[in-house]
Symmetry: C2
Subunit: 450 residues, 2 copies
């Protein structure tokens, strides 16, 4: 393996093994070896060797995932994509980009926006996460309501199979129905089927204007009613971010001033984009929809500076939660949008029954709510209660016709809960699909499946 | 099998066997038996029996496909979905519909539009084709440029495996990254992996206003330049239909008057939608983009009547071609949009080299062009030349970084050409995926794979 990548691109020191052994979940396991290949050919050679010798092989992007998808839970080889970091092509005529998996999402966005194009998916980690990781986990983000998540933008992939075979799925054409859609199958497969080595992404014209509005409500139900009202008015905002009272309190405590007047039960951040006339019309409709359901306050942003200020609360939530010193267990559950109030009722029940601090915020348009269980890591009883609450949360979400993960994936953290959502037949079928790609089971073992 | 569905729902007469033995391709093969089940349970029982006795099993929607996807090329059982034709639910709050596969696409569109919602995919066959068939082939249509094809709207599926197991893929939540995306894998799999028995579709708010513009150009290059100019202006029309000179001549001959002045080399039909102000602004930009590249004529529609008139040519093409008495071999090839002029150069070469009448039109925004080889069915030499031209067409399309099918699928008609686009490794992988679903190979045998 050292011959394949060159001795300079092998890491075996303890610090590297630790660093490449974990992601944002914070629960790691060291690999036996870290390799930094330069290209597809080297990755194919690595795969072939691992396949032959049945060595676990884990592809790694930037390690910003929340479910341990990049963690080599069974040791073996970590292949880091950090040297495959070129934007190969931005094709303005055909509205597409071809990139290597190690390109940082934010860098791609700036590159395409500089020529008037737009890559919509915007996971919170976009300044550090890589396109390869975004593809592996099917990353989402606030803009998902209008623009969809990573899946919608992946046109074609180059990928290495465990056998060392290199496949190309899809094409540069925006439509393609030739054989099975392996492109879409690989998106979200968390590195368990193949190692993606090149990504062709669909782009769209950059919307010329955007506008932002912040509204405060007495409770979650009113905020969701505003969202329903918007949809009734046939408005499709880019972003519909919902922030609950616990999150507002946490941010207020963090910055040392009140982010919302007392009695505020929910904050909604709405963003629309398009041409100037369309945006003016839509943001007006948004304000009406919020006032119609009795918003406490409706604040449109007049310029980019005001927009930044409106986003302050949302932006500070994660930092505020981390600064509490508590362990933040983040679950990105998702329900049909109309059932978001029921989901928040479930959270109230869980807070009471399991005596837990729970902070929730997320993408109300998609029904994708980040539920954060805030745990004292030194209190084993709290950990036990959180574990129990977690399972109930997932069961209730599935009962609400939702899903246990909207954009973070399963990794190893949620693998035990897969049977809550999928039947034994469905899991067995997925395992057979896995076997079609990876008969020796070397790719990212211990992930997805319980 | 008769016990499963009841004797009233079994067809064995010659007329039925012929009728259920072909689709719009016009090259059929009779099944041994036609069954009209009423529900998922019956379909599961049929599948189990066929699986056990290794009897070919072909699910059939409305039989409007162009590649023989619904043809039981090896006999066996055809399961028609015509009795599974209920719209189970239209959920306005969550913007989704749950339907049985036999629902006619146009019926669903009217039902959702009556409550202000919108199901964008619009295959030409929408008044007869069914949602199940649309899902099986991943149907497209003119609106694809802005709204994407069937794939983008399928949230969840209920499907029967050959073993008789019933699986549910996806969920009503618009985001879901729990395990492999079997939903997207089933879309476009042409009934070779499972039999879809229920479809959950994402809807969008119905755009309140639309506007149409027709423009004539001296040649294809100018029309494509207009499209490129539009995209440069960051306009995303719903529809960008391109019609070539041969198609204009065919329609003119059919109706007995000139559809365009002599010297016209291409017609472009552009449609935009959205709010009134947005539409006014966009259609103005469209007109500018057409005039900038020297359009011969630019005609906006002032009302629905004028709109209908502008669409006349496009609507009449298929009928005009059929009325020639020639056999119309329709190939829905697709290239990256910027390479559409190169594709038309290829067609010119093919016309000359193989002495063939070739009529082309299609979705210029997607680069998805319907190339119709017009053949005298009684001239074996022409048939031979057409066969040779077909292969060259597909080879050239793939060389242009395109795909041999954008929306019609492979069926059996294009199966021999699969290796032009896919490598042996890719085909072998797809066969292993097929085996994961259908180990005995009973589902729609003879399709997709060469």
């Amino acid at each position: 393996l050292s011959d394949v990548v060159g001795a300079d691109h092998v890491r075996t020191d303890a610090a590297s093994l630790q660093r490449y052994g974990q992601d944002a979940l914070g629960i790691g396991h060291p690999p036996d070896l870290v390799l930094l290949p330069a290209n597809t050919r080297e990755i194919a050679a690595i795969a072939r060797l691992c396949h032959e010798h049945r060595i676990p092989l884990v592809a790694r992007g930037a390690g910003t995932g929340y479910t341990g998808g990049a963690v080599p839970t069974r040791g073996g080889v970590v292949v880091s994509m950090e040297r495959l970091n070129r934007i190969i092509e931005i094709d303005e005529a055909n509205l597409l980009a071809v990139v290597e998996p190690g390109v940082v999402t934010g860098d791609l966005q700036r590159a395409v926006e500089s020529v008037g194009l737009f890559y919509p998916p915007d996971p919170a980690s976009l300044e550090t996460s890589s396109i390869g990781g975004n593809v592996a986990e099917c990353a989402g983000g606030p803009r998902g309501f209008k623009y969809g998540n990573t899946r919608r933008y992946v046109l074609a992939l180059e990928a290495v199979l465990p056998s060392g075979e290199v496949i190309e799925t899809g094409s540069k054409a925006v439509k393609n129905v030739v054989g099975y859609d392996l492109t879409q199958l690989l998106v979200g497969s968390e590195g368990t089927l193949a190692i993606v080595t090149k990504v062709t992404l669909r782009l769209i014209p950059k919307p010329p204007v955007r506008a932002t509005l912040m509204a405060l409500f007495t409770d979650i139900q009113a905020a969701v009613d505003a969202v329903t009202g918007l949809i009734g008015r046939r408005i499709v905002p880019v972003t519909l971010e919902l922030i609950d009272a616990e999150a507002l309190i946490a941010v207020s405590a963090h910055v040392g001033r009140e982010m919302a007047p007392s009695g505020t039960g929910a904050m909604l951040l709405v963003e629309v984009d398009g041409t100037q006339v369309a945006v003016d019309e839509e943001i007006d409709q948004v304000a009406h929809a919020c006032r119609d359901v009795g918003a406490i306050r409706v604040v449109p942003a007049a310029d980019d500076e005001e927009r930044d200020r409106l986003w302050t609360t949302r932006r500070l939530i994660s930092m505020a939660l981390r600064s509490t010193g508590l362990l933040k267990i983040n679950h990105d559950v998702v329900v049909p949008r109309g059932r978001v109030p029921e989901l928040f009722s479930v959270l109230d029940e869980l807070r009471e029954e399991y005596r837990l601090k729970i902070v929730a915020f997320g993408h109300a348009g998609d029904g994708n709510i980040h539920v954060n269980l805030m745990i004292d890591p030194n209190d084993p009883d709290q950990r036990t209660r959180a574990k129990a609450a977690e399972r109930v949360l997932f069961e209730r979400v599935v009962a609400l016709e939702g899903s246990i993960s909207g954009e973070h994936g399963i990794g190893f953290a949620k693998a035990p809960y897969l049977p809550i959502e999928l039947s034994p037949e469905e899991i067995a079928l997925m395992k057979r699909v896995k076997g079609a790609f990876d008969p020796n089971g070397i790719l990212n073992p211990g992930k997805i499946f319980p």
